[in-house]
């Protein structure tokens, strides 16, 4: 959030949230308004600013589009916390905590929910942070005693946990604001769907700002154009291999940056990230649509009865290759000059 000006905390709420997704009669999470907010809000600011620029995810709330007031479970409460009276804000904060508790199942540990309302001269910011419980040691060296150091085990809420999550809203109390948020969720790519969808979809009732089809088409376009500019056949093969890998991956959510950094070696990585669309939207996350991706990549691999494999990715009409119907079989002919030769374990 480095692009935003410094904000001053005005309200802070804290709740211990216990999983109650399957509870028949959920109880209100204990907590409320924190009166002394200086040190804690500073720690929240530090945690927020410690999240790298590429780690934030843009998400749009799934507003009830038939409602007159753009109603949404989190938006309504976030606005009340930010702009309501003290009593309304406290009630709304408790409802956010209750909603989080009701969304959390028994696979999760208890968590600390912190809600911070801060403002600058332009807008109000509502930060929702949740920190999971963790077992920690406390080491103490007593001065002037002979007993030596003492170590205690404690249950605490971890600011550095990989499972911490955040959502930040900015704006004023008006129809056009608090419709989107910026999110921190390191589990968004978890293989377990429940974990991957927990924060953005289930709790925030939001979705990635970049749609699945548009994001997939963007990656396909960047990939095709990078293949066309590849320096040599090896680089082209690396790009094709990465396209196959992303297609076969169990992971649902990708960005152009994550595709390049996780699947491409140099110099293909740098070349792909230099594409104007990657420069502008490299960190925009989207859910890969495999059907759309297949059409864009047009990756076909033919196994011939002679033991030869022929692959022709990124082209709809490969030059020098024809396929003719020959009775019940199809006959493939490919002709061209060999420009490179390598020993590979896959048909790319």
């Amino acid at each position: 959030m480095s692009s935003q000006s410094a904000t001053k905390a005005r309200r802070l709420y804290a709740y211990e949230v216990t999983p109650q997704r399957n509870a028949k009669e959920p109880v209100a999470p204990p907590g409320g308004q924190v009166k002394s907010i200086g040190g804690v809000s500073g720690a929240i600011d530090e945690t927020t600013s410690g999240i790298g620029a590429g780690k934030w995810i843009d998400a749009d709330l799934q507003i009830d589009s038939a409602s007159e007031d753009r109603s949404h479970v989190i938006r309504n409460h976030a606005i009340a916390v930010a702009f309501g009276t003290d009593a309304e804000a406290l009630d709304a904060a408790g409802r956010i905590a209750q909603h989080l508790s009701n969304c959390t199942d028994d696979r999760s540990k208890d968590a600390l929910l912190m809600i911070v309302v801060a403002e600058d001269d332009k807008e109000t910011e509502v930060k929702l942070w949740t920190f999971p419980q963790d077992s920690v040691f406390q080491f103490e060296l007593a001065v002037g005693q002979q007993a030596g150091p003492s170590v205690r085990t404690l249950e605490a809420f971890s600011r550095g946990s990989h499972l911490r999550k955040a959502a930040i809203f900015r704006g004023k109390n008006r129809r056009t604001d608090f419709l989107s948020c910026r999110v921190v969720d390191f589990q968004v790519n978890a293989s377990a769907r429940a974990a991957a969808d927990f924060w953005i979809e289930r709790f925030l009732d939001a979705r990635l700002s970049l749609g699945s089809v548009l994001g997939t088409k963007l990656l396909g376009k960047v990939l095709r154009e990078t293949v066309a500019k590849a320096e040599d056949a090896d680089e082209r093969l690396e790009l094709v291999g990465a396209a196959q890998a992303v297609r076969q991956s169990n992971r649902e959510k990708w960005s152009i940056d994550s595709f390049a950094r996780e699947l491409l070696p140099e110099p293909a990585r740098t070349r792909l990230l230099a594409h104007p669309a990657a420069q502008r939207n490299g960190d925009s996350m989207f859910a890969l649509n495999r059907d759309v991706f297949d059409k864009l990549i047009n990756f076909r691999v033919y196994q011939l009865d002679t033991g030869v494999w022929v692959s022709a990715p990124f082209t709809t009409e490969p030059k020098g290759m024809t396929i003719k119907d020959d009775g019940d079989q199809r006959h493939l002919t490919a002709a061209g000059y060999v420009v490179s030769e390598s020993v590979r374990s896959r048909h790319a």
């Binding site: 008006r174 419709l179 700002s209 749609g211 089809v213 548009l214 925009s284």
Partner: protein, 204 residues
Amino acid sequence: MPDDYVELKRQYESRRAALENLSTDLERETKEILTDIPHIDRIGFRVKSPDRFVDKVREKPPSEAYDEPLREVEDQVAGRILVLFRADLDVVMAEIVKEFTSVELRRKAPPTTTQFGYESDHSIFTIPKHVAPPEWKSDASAPTTFELQVRTLFQHAWAEPQHDLGYKGTADLSEESERELAWAAASAWGADQAIQRVASRQAK
């Protein structure tokens, strides 16, 4: 024009280039979303002209006045999709909402079944972050939404000329003009129904 509106117009004009880029990107993406959808006559986006922007702000009743028009006017960038058949309205919107996040979906129609007049699907969507101009990330006055209308050709055929006539309400019209516009709207509605029935029979 009062100084406030002159300044507002100047501010709006200063972001015109960014709005034009956004409009181009949204049109391209809308076309991509609807690539495989049949019966689409045309897709177009436009940026609201500075004069119309100021008029919209000025004409707002005092009780509904904008605090920050540069943020709150939601059709600074707006798109329109024209479809051939009435049944396509829902098909198109279903595809659009898969990719763009809606905050308002309204089917505009006359208030009673015995009236004929303006009909169109109006929707408001959140501007996706990846097409928002980069300088808007730290601009608290930048718009967050855009408008999209979906209508049939016959709905459009009635709406455009009557909009061009420029009257401010039925009070401005003679009884004869009012009746003739209603007749034209009823004819457009009837033509839509007839064409849809033929299309449905052909599809069987």
